[in-house]
Symmetry: C2
Subunit: 300 residues, 2 copies
């Protein structure tokens, strides 16, 4: 049974559109795991490493879809995904009935649902599977993957997810993966606010923030954000990590969607405002823990 299953997996042909900071190491992990990939990137120079590893370089998302049963997408924002799937030379013009489009970008949950419906009209399945864990997670294959879509399509794609990530959760139907990713970005933004305010309070009281972090890590205030982002603040070193400008883009999706579903998110709005202020100060390329720099400049 296991052998048969592994054989099925090997027979699937894969496509990958979008070879950016995340997409390039992710597609490389799939290629190196022994799968055959057809790939497309707007800037073909980014595809050289993959070509050397044996991937087929295509001239359009449509050509990728013609050569693949499962087409992964990893691009920047909602309009990019729409263009890649539905634009001239888009995936929908090349994909066979029964194929699956797996969008690993972080985009609007509402638009994701619409994209899935449009694909379903052509008997193409869609899985939204945004990721968390950054470039390091993409390289080491330890991403968190939050998936939305049918149980059947998720089961078909899961063996490939296992080459890309560790914590792989089927959250619900189409769009549910994007909702989980939005929740992820809310929690991280507001937790950065929490740790920033605590360390600012300590600093203003003349107390060593490192000792405070040490005292808090073992208890109920302990978190990954306290550990990682708290350390960035204490070292005054905001090398990303996750860039403030990208976190701002994701919080835009959160706040837009929140308005539509009538969710009251004042903490997320506050953290978004502080990320905006980091961008206004020219710190968009820094890690979003630069919220601490913003708060530090304020005088009550």
């Amino acid at each position: 049974m296991l052998a048969r299953y592994a054989e099925d997996v090997q027979e699937m042909k894969l496509g990958f559109v979008g070879l950016g900071i995340m997409g390039l190491p992710m597609s490389l992990n799939l290629q190196r795991a022994g799968f055959t990939l057809s790939v497309y990137n707007r800037n073909p120079a980014r595809a050289q490493t993959l070509e050397k590893a044996g991937a087929k370089l295509c001239r359009s998302p449509k050509e990728v879809a013609e050569n693949a049963d499962i087409i992964f997408i990893c691009v920047s924002d909602t309009p990019d995904v729409e263009q890649v799937i539905f634009g001239t030379d888009g995936i929908i013009h090349g994909a066979k009935a029964g194929s699956i489009v797996v969008d690993m970008s972080t985009i609007s949950p509402e638009e994701t649902k619409k994209f899935a419906r449009r694909l379903a009209e052509k008997n193409i399945e869609m899985i939204d599977a945004p990721i968390s864990g950054g470039e390091a997670g993409a390289i080491t294959g330890t991403l968190s993957i939050m998936a939305g879509g049918s149980a059947e399509a998720f089961a078909r794609v899961k063996p490939y997810f296992e080459k890309l990530g560790k914590n792989i959760v089927h959250v619900g139907t189409n769009g549910a993966g994007q909702v989980a990713k939005a929740c992820n970005q809310i929690v991280i933004a507001v937790s950065i606010e929490a740790v920033s305010e605590a360390l600012l309070f300590a600093e203003k009281c003349g107390v060593d923030g490192r000792k405070v972090r040490e005292a808090l890590m073992g208890g109920f205030a302990g978190s990954k954000v306290m550990e990682v982002h708290g350390n960035r603040m204490l070292n005054d070193d905001y090398k990303p990590g996750f860039k403030a400008k990208l976190h701002r883009k994701d919080m835009g999706i959160v706040m837009d969607t929140a308005a539509k579903v009538k969710a009251f998110l004042p903490g997320a709005a506050l953290a978004t405002r502080h990320i905006d202020e980091a961008l206004e100060a020219g710190d968009g390329e820094l890690d979003s823990s630069a919220i601490f720099k913003v708060l530090r400049k304020k005088v009550k």
Copy 2:
């Protein structure tokens, strides 16, 4: 050397004032570890368990101080600590020069510094050592202890702290323990806000919050608050934990001190407002994760 050290520890006589939800199990842990305690509680009925275990029941904090080299305090708020130390029949009227007052209550960092200075005039040392970990941590001896005071006094008290807690950090000089505890309460309050908003967003989007929590726990959004308080929200079960009314008292200390040191804490102010709304709704006896109930009721 170790034997000699242990012997010194055994010779110290201990006092404990305040046998409440936290103080009773803490003093019992000290008594059961083989130390001799003199204890006082406003309501002497609470002291019976300790008396049975071998502790000496005193009629005032002064009498406790007359019988002890190290006097622990665990009461509710700043005025209570002031009364216990400096009031009629207070500790200062019975304590010997060279003794140490260890205040494990959560009170104002600024007042703590003043108390320490007043005690120093009588050659009495003070250590502020607020705790985190709740009743369960007090019973099992697994509290987090954040201490402020001189390194010498901390070293003398540390062996007793080890009977009460696990993560024991000497944060800095007098008041630094209270500052760390304030930071702890900021992080927990704002993190509860973060998790509440994320789970509210998921709910309004029609996505299973349990799956979202599962997807987020392994990544950068993972935290003790997501684990413990997130679970309370998802189960709609707000049995404390830590009561909203006590968290509100601590946030009062935070916001008062923040105003004095000119720290800008808008996230903490927001979370405090939501705890207030929980209290207004009659939920002060519930865990402070009842912030989720407050947000849920709002319509944008």
